[in-house]
């Protein structure tokens, strides 16, 4: 008998995020942002202890560090990983990062630079391309989308292709495409992957109470249904305990507007 577990949508997404790192082997897991980071921590503390993680500054730690003020917690350092070393890791391909770009398109291309207007005079300037070009062409990436809509999952190409994707026309002859992969997109509605024909985007699982049509209506490009499309796996009591330990200040509760429950109340 499994016991009844109450969970929020953020916690459901954390568990879905952690699944992205399952079976990746001994690589660096980089979850950027609260939900991806707790997801990576959950992966390491449950199904994939071989993963490497950092303190998000410069040190490798043998145990994921809880988010926010640490009290008397002392990080368990096992190695060094300054930015210089992170780049070496990226170029060697032994990393799986999960980040939250501003835009993602049907080819998995991502944008963190500018939106709208002209490139020389954009409507909105964001961070810049950061490490997306290098990360995306060298190692596995997944994405996190807290607000699944057609502004984030856009109709055409993203406004400034910062991270590479599966669009054939973008790849000049002779450029190696075999070093990159895009695995999952964890959104507040569903989990997407790129396992359709020619790496087309599919709905892999739907969060409780969400229908395929709702997801499609909020996505700028056509989606496929995964075979055996079902519901996103609910957190277990064990996973909930790990999540609470990793996020003692409940930062996860502030990541989604209104911190909705994992199972939608009936309309």
């Amino acid at each position: 008998m499994s016991q009844h577990v109450e969970f929020t949508l953020a916690e459901l997404m954390i568990v879905a995020a952690s699944e992205a790192w399952r079976g990746n082997g001994e690589i660096l897991a980089s979850g950027i942002g609260v939900i991806p980071r707790i997801g990576a921590s959950l992966a390491k503390l449950t199904h994939s202890p071989e993963l490497l993680m950092t303190d998000s500054e410069a040190f490798l730690v043998s145990e994921p560090i809880p988010l926010g003020p640490r009290g008397d917690y002392v990080p368990k350092y096992e190695g060094y990983m300054g930015f210089d070393r992170v780049f070496e890791c990226v170029w060697g391909g032994l990393r799986h990062a999960m980040i939250g770009p501003t835009q993602i398109d049907r080819w998995g291309q991502s944008n963190l630079s500018v939106v709208g207007g002209d490139y020389k005079k954009p409507k909105v300037a964001m961070l810049g391309v950061r490490g997306l070009p290098g990360n995306s062409i060298n190692h596995i990436n997944s994405f996190f989308v807290p607000n699944h809509n057609s502004r984030a999952l856009v109709a055409g190409e993203v406004d400034m292709v910062s991270g590479v994707g599966f669009k054939k026309e973008r790849w000049e002859k002779g450029v190696r495409r075999d070093l990159m992969d895009i695995r999952r997109i964890i959104t507040n509605l569903c989990v997407l992957d790129f396992e359709g024909p020619d790496r087309a985007c599919r709905v892999r699982s739907l969060h409780p109470g969400v229908g395929f049509e709702e997801v499609q209506d909020n996505t700028g490009f056509p989606l496929l249904k995964a075979d055996n499309l079902g519901e996103t796996t609910h957190p277990t009591a064990e996973q909930m305990a790990v999540i609470a330990k990793m996020d003692p200040h409940n930062l996860r509760g502030a990541q989604l507007k209104g911190n909705p429950p994992g199972i939608r109340p009936a309309a």
Partner: protein
């Protein structure tokens, strides 16, 4: 062999139109005392090369920047740099926007006196579309792989902030992450270093020397600038000043916000600047950021 200068003397050596690399990363260990001195000067038309933080926004706000070579501009806990955004959205800023790794490669190439270094970073993205001067190169070996030839990012001047220096130009960076400051030093014709502490001549043990990351022959001048990275993070000496960064950020959405920021924090001496931020003792107690 005494390389000690004041920040004012350093800035007097800079010229309009120069390409200036600024060490650090985002709101981490930026040579802000020298940057403030540039803000006080008449310098213009600069090409700024940086893993950008608030210094990029300030130099843009002050109209000093003609061109920006960058991968990002951010203040970490405040993700978007407000004055960088303004300049970018006004269309007044010429940009060469590259991947963080391409940026490193450009500095390395310059330091090694190479015209370029090959990389995969940037291929199949709009980085190549928006920078048509970037060329690819085919491997001359059997694999025939096509790679991006990241051109050298040669700097006229590099500005760096370190924890310790001596008057000969020896430096120690004891922060958790030395970032890429060594590459800025190598890529530049002249490198000016500001330091929390300056001594006449280092006498170090073999543990401490591991924090010496580039040679003194690369260092042209040394500036004694206690709290010289404020409001950015300079571990282990002090954390970033989030209250100051918030105030700076808020100024961008206020009428005459930049002019007011200048009036309060730029149009003064560095001693007055530190006093306005609570003094060196208070800054020294700013907590290390929690990542």
């Amino acid at each position: 062999m005494n390389k000690q200068l004041s920040a004012t003397e350093v800035v007097a050596r800079l010229r309009d139109g120069m390409t200036i690399g600024i060490g650090g990363w985002g709101p981490r260990r930026k040579p802000m005392a020298i940057v403030r001195e540039i803000l006080r000067s008449n310098l213009k038309d600069l090409t700024i090369v940086a893993y950008g933080g608030p210094e990029v926004g300030m130099l843009c706000a002050a109209g000093k920047v003609r061109k920006l070579i960058f991968g990002f501009a951010t203040m970490d806990p405040i993700p978007l740099e407000p004055y960088f955004r303004k300049a970018r959205e006004a269309g007044t800023l010429e940009v060469f926007e590259v991947d963080e790794g391409m940026f490193e490669w450009g500095l390395r190439a310059a330091g090694m006196r190479m015209p370029f270094l090959p990389t995969r970073c940037g291929l199949a993205t709009d980085v190549v579309k928006h920078n048509p001067h970037l060329k690819t190169i085919q491997s001359p070996y059997a694999d025939g792989e096509v790679l991006l030839a990241m051109p050298a990012l040669k700097l006229d001047v590099a500005l760096i902030h370190v924890n310790e220096a001596d008057k000969l130009g020896n430096t120690l960076i004891t922060s958790a992450d030395p970032l890429f400051d060594n590459l800025f030093a190598r890529a530049a014709d002249a490198c000016y270093v500001s330091a929390e502490r300056v001594v006449d001549k280092f006498a170090l043990d073999t543990h401490a020397v591991r924090f010496n990351l580039f040679e003194r022959y690369l260092v042209t001048g040394v500036v004694h600038a206690p709290c010289g990275a404020h409001p950015t993070y300079c571990g282990p000496d002090y954390g970033w000043d989030l209250a100051h960064l918030k105030k700076y950020n808020a100024s961008a959405s206020e009428e005459s916000g930049w002019a007011n920021y200048v009036k309060e924090f730029v149009a003064c001496t560095e001693t007055e600047y530190l006093a306005k931020n609570g003094g060196a003792e208070t800054i020294g107690k700013l907590p290390m950021p929690i990542f």
